[in-house]
């Protein structure tokens, strides 16, 4: 299985970006970048393709689903797996995220001490 080496986390909340960076930093070999908006994420991903994108759903301007659509529309980014990080976890919402092409969902609030494990499990599921 391909190893997960880089993650791009996108969230307009600086506190949560910091928590995610710290939590995923438990794996010292993982490269973690964070962005404050969908537009910044597209730019960052174009500069250096991440293995995995973790994407907040509710953001101003370009929200999570719109950002995912932009990734899918850009040939160089189209195949990057995208996982939504959100509290919108009603069955209908999960179904909608799946239909949009999300590779998975991580529920908010999440336990930072377990986030890395959750990401690993999702990565294995994506590439299993």
């Amino acid at each position: 299985m391909r190893q997960l080496r880089s993650v791009l986390y996108v969230d307009d909340e600086p506190d949560i970006r910091e928590i995610v960076a710290l939590a995923l930093g438990l794996d010292g070999s993982l490269s973690i970048r964070t962005c404050e908006s969908g537009a910044a994420a597209l730019e960052a991903a174009m500069q250096r393709l991440p293995d995995l994108v973790l994407l907040d759903v509710m953001m101003p301007d370009l929200d999570g689903p719109a950002t995912l659509a932009r990734f899918r529309a850009e040939p160089t980014l189209a195949s990057v797996p995208i996982v939504f990080v959100t509290a919108k976890t009603m069955p209908s919402e999960l179904q909608r995220f799946g239909a949009l092409g999300a590779a998975g969902v991580i529920s908010k609030p999440f336990d930072p001490m377990r986030l890395l494990e959750q990401v690993r499990i999702l990565w294995e599921r994506i590439h299993g």
Partner: protein
């Protein structure tokens, strides 16, 4: 993604717990400022109808931030109240500031959040209380 040796993982976990505790302390220290900022926006809304949309946007933005982060630091009820205020502000913006029902909902949501500020500020600092805390419950960001 490599698995670090057990000792290194334990060390990293300890470091992470400390870093999260510091973030939680900083969040709690900001609560008073957040409350004041919301109160100022709410007072401006009541005082000047001409600037109501701008005040509502300030309220919505401040509530959105709290809604997104409070539960991560163990303040789930504060986050839920902030979510209600965020939705009420958005609704009032959509319906227009002259809509009495929307304004009433906004007032109720604001009062509810203000009460949760009291409860949160009265609580002792709790370190990296994130998920699994008794106060933690699913949010609706």
């Amino acid at each position: 993604m490599a698995d670090p040796p057990r000792d290194d993982r334990a060390r990293r976990t300890g470091v992470l717990a400390g870093q999260l505790a510091a973030l939680g302390d900083a969040f709690r220290a900001r609560l008073l400022r957040d409350r004041e900022s919301l109160a100022a926006a709410y007072a401006a809304l009541a005082a000047a109808d001409a600037d109501a949309p701008a005040s509502l946007k300030r309220i919505e933005h401040a509530a959105h931030r709290l809604h997104g982060t409070a539960a991560m630091f163990g303040y789930a009820k504060l986050g839920e109240s902030a979510g209600r205020l965020e939705r009420a502000a958005r609704e009032t913006l959509a319906r227009g500031t002259s809509d009495g029902a929307a304004h009433s909902a906004l007032a109720v949501s604001y009062a509810g959040l203000d009460g949760e500020f009291d409860a949160a500020l009265a609580r002792a600092p709790s370190g990296p209380v994130l998920c699994g805390h008794p106060d933690a419950s699913p949010q609706t960001k």
